[in-house]
């Protein structure tokens, strides 16, 4: 586990079971339909399928009252680890809800318990081929085509498995943006899977192996900045890697930048101008990995003065990347941004976090469909997201619901406007 036992217990016992974890921030509730924060609580409605239920179950497991029953494992791994509950709780309490939920899984894996079939497949793929799809590593760079990365540059473009293997057009959109901004970039010759889902499953050992490899590759490249178009890779580079390596974000040998941040900054500095009209009503989906989960990680050794954690900097979800993508979308000529009800730190996850899609694809699709319904309610023609995984799942949801909603990646939309 990444939390020591005493801290894990302390945090799990903090829960006062107020049920704030089930709703978006109270002040932001605008309707019955879109009031809820937690996908598992909304769908399954046994208290075990909620943050407070899982925290109570965690203390029960810690105290030896219950083992990892199949029901507990089911509830635990249905949780999307979207962080909504964590952010809601931290409005009023100092309680590391998400860390408890993550550590529950880590403990499960540490004890040598069997992985769910979908998780086992993913982990086996990663062990064999260093990507989540089981595709050959040697074709990872096939997306490049006629793109010309530099041999040496200050910036590395971290592509991510989805863009490399499944949606190469997204990778090329990012490179188009970087080039247009006059930014030289490299790509890693031996980029491995970032590791989000492996860490979400609870396999800390494998996640750490991936982190060590990728960090070394970045360091050896000499680059100081890593740009990515993937919310998942962004969170891995900025949050998971320092967490796994016992460091804070600012101690890492690079700065992670999402393409949304890059474009926003480039526009402000005059390096990029969005000239072409993109006449489209869009709504923006805040990917959890770019939003509330992406705050910088502060390594902290538990130390208390009574109830006060000494030297701890809390991550409450308010300092995620919310404004940058919106600034850019608002700057695109012809585009009109229509907001959903649950936005920013209140965003409903689209089902791509927590390794849920690997183990429970039906539930992941349901989660995405719920989000899609919210997007449709805005009157928008398209959903824009900063996550390749969420783009795919939302597109699947749109197709299955015959919603006719376009699902676009942020980089694609920006590339159209260049």
């Amino acid at each position: 586990m990444l939390l020591d036992v005493d801290e894990y217990k302390r945090q799990a016992k903090m829960c006062v079971r107020c049920s704030f974890c089930k709703y978006i921030d109270m002040n932001w509730i605008k309707s019955l339909k879109f009031a809820r924060q937690c996908p598992i609580d909304t769908r399954y409605a046994m208290n075990l399928y909620s943050a407070h239920g899982l925290l109570y179950a965690s203390t029960g497991e810690l105290d030896g009252a219950i083992p990892f029953t199949p029901k507990l494992v089911d509830a635990m791994y249905h949780c999307t680890l979207c962080g909504g509950c964590d952010s809601r709780c931290k409005r009023n309490l100092d309680c590391e809800v998400l860390q408890v939920l993550e550590n529950l899984r880590m403990k499960y894996v540490e004890q040598g318990n069997p992985l769910l079939p979908g998780h086992k497949e993913l982990v086996d793929n990663v062990r064999k081929t260093r990507n989540e799809y089981g595709e050959p590593q040697k074709v990872r760079l096939n997306w490049i085509g006629d793109v010309k990365p530099a041999e040496k540059a200050d910036v590395v473009f971290f592509v991510g498995c989805n863009a490399a293997y499944k949606q190469p057009e997204l990778a090329r959109a990012v490179t188009k943006i970087l080039s247009k901004a006059g930014t030289l970039f490299m790509v890693l010759k031996d980029e491995w899977y970032a590791g989000n889902e492996v860490l979400a499953i609870g396999d800390v050992k494998l996640a750490r192996e991936l982190a060590e490899h990728n960090v070394k590759a970045i360091k050896d490249s000499g680059a100081k900045t890593v740009v990515t178009g993937s919310a998942e890779c962004y969170k891995a580079l900025k949050v998971d890697y320092p967490k796994l390596l016992g460091k804070s974000t600012e101690e890492m040998p690079y700065v992670a930048v999402h393409i949304a941040e890059f474009v926003d900054q480039a526009i402000k500095e005059g390096k990029l101008t969005l000239k072409k009209k993109v006449p489209l009503k869009v709504t923006y989906h805040d990917a959890c990995n770019l939003g509330r989960l992406s705050e910088t990680w502060q390594q902290w050794t538990p130390k208390y003065d009574g109830s006060i954690p000494i030297g701890k900097v809390w991550r409450r979800g308010d300092r995620g990347i919310y404004d940058a993508p919106r600034n850019v979308l608002n700057a695109i000529p012809g585009a009109e941004l229509l907001e959903m009800e649950r936005i920013r730190g209140n965003a409903w996850g689209a089902g791509c976090t927590g390794a849920v899609n690997a183990a429970f694809p039906d539930f992941a699709l349901w989660t995405a469909s719920e989000r899609l319904e919210e997007a449709v309610a805005t009157g928008a023609e398209a959903v824009v997201t900063c996550s390749a995984d969420e783009k795919q799942l939302l597109a699947k949801a749109s197709e299955s619901k015959k919603a006719g909603m376009k699902i676009l990646d942020f980089a694609e939309v920006v590339a159209q406007a260049l």
Partner: protein, 504 residues
Amino acid sequence: MALLKEAYETLQSIVGPEWVSDDPAVCEADRPKGRLRSKEIPLYKPAGSIEPITTEEVQAIIKVCNRYKIPFACTSSYGSDVWGIERPNWLFIDLKRMRKLEIDEKNLYAVVESGIASAVLQAECFRRNLLSFVPMSGGECSVLGNASYIGEGAVSWKLGDRGYRRVLGVEWVTPEGEIMRLGSLSMSDDYFCGEGPGPDLRGLLVSSGYGSAARKGVITRIGIRVFPFIKEKLVPKGDAPTTHLEMPANRFAWYNFTFPTRKACVDAIYEIGKCELGLLAMTVPPWFVSMARARATGTDKLTGAAGFWYDWNNVTGPKAKEDPEQTVGRILLYGIGSDKRLAYEEKVLVDICKSLGALAKKSRGLQDQTHFMSADAIVSNLAGGRFASVIFFESLDSALKAADLVTENTKKRVPKIFDDYGTTNWFVPFEMAHIAKEESLRFTTVEFEDELTLLMADCHKQLAPLGGFPMFPNPKFYGEVWGNYPEMERKIFKIFDPNQLAPF
């Protein structure tokens, strides 16, 4: 212990296997918090949990409980601990799935099922230029659960106190499994009117000072009054933890007024009540100021418990210690109907305070963080991880005496209970100062939680002679002082619950 196999299978046939479980993890997740309970009384995890979605399913479940003599208890938001957990082998009826909500805008009432949270009803009301109550226990609390228990909210200052005064038609499943429909609902599918032919049984369902609605079985649906509101919208802003609602300046104004003693402030509140000013009014204990400041953001600021204690120890606490009697009142003036009304209220408030030797000061900001949607109820746990309230409902004058009593009792338990210098006695008047809640919040760490239980027990014993009623008292202490009314209740409810399966 486990439910009988036959009983379990019957329950499965009612709701479907997905919605009932006796899995150890499910039962562990539903185990009572057991907070603020005497350690002498053992508490039990449920033997199973079930989630019905219709009144008919609830009825069928309760009939099964009667057939197999299974005690039951229910909740929807779990905002308070479930009552009736002192019995082994009990069935937890979770009403969260029951989430129907309809609003009749013209006739100013809503029909809600158990699973509708107060903040959700409020949000739906706002969309229709209506106003509802959100209890100070939190916006996540069930409308139905709260209205049939205490039901007050910040706006009770203007719009009325007890929840039951707003409860209209009621659909209720008795502990024997009979569906009772009260008020106009008894005659037709209409929740509009709480009164109907025959005796008004709503008084039985809505509780006095203790217990829960589940004692009387399960209330599944109620009609509840809502109120006209302004057309201008309250706009949500900010990222948690500093979210708030922006209020229109032509309709609202916050004012603070400071008096040298609690009594002087209470006297001012009486005068303000006579003029029927404002939508909500209350005192603001200094502890609350530190709690609000703890909700900072940014990596360069102390936040949470660290932020609280920094402010309390260095800024607000020393001032409170130096002058514990000084009391700040706060009122939200409200231009109901027009902005001319707001201007009038401001003038009258300033005049009242001036005549009593105080200054009514208008706040700069026009934001509300917590009163309309009650986003901050749980922040009371922030300082140490645990808190409890000795809550007492009576006149404002009696509330003053209650506050002194609790303060004296608290001193004996400092420092295990945090020392607030006797200042966290929160006066929340209702109905233009006809009645008040005096809430003495006391705070401690998880380690010393039992001290809060003991403090409450001490206080409850002593509060009885003041009249009124407390919240969460143990009937063991109060019954005798109040004509053994728990015994009267038992006799009445034996008619409805001959097998004594509902909580008592």
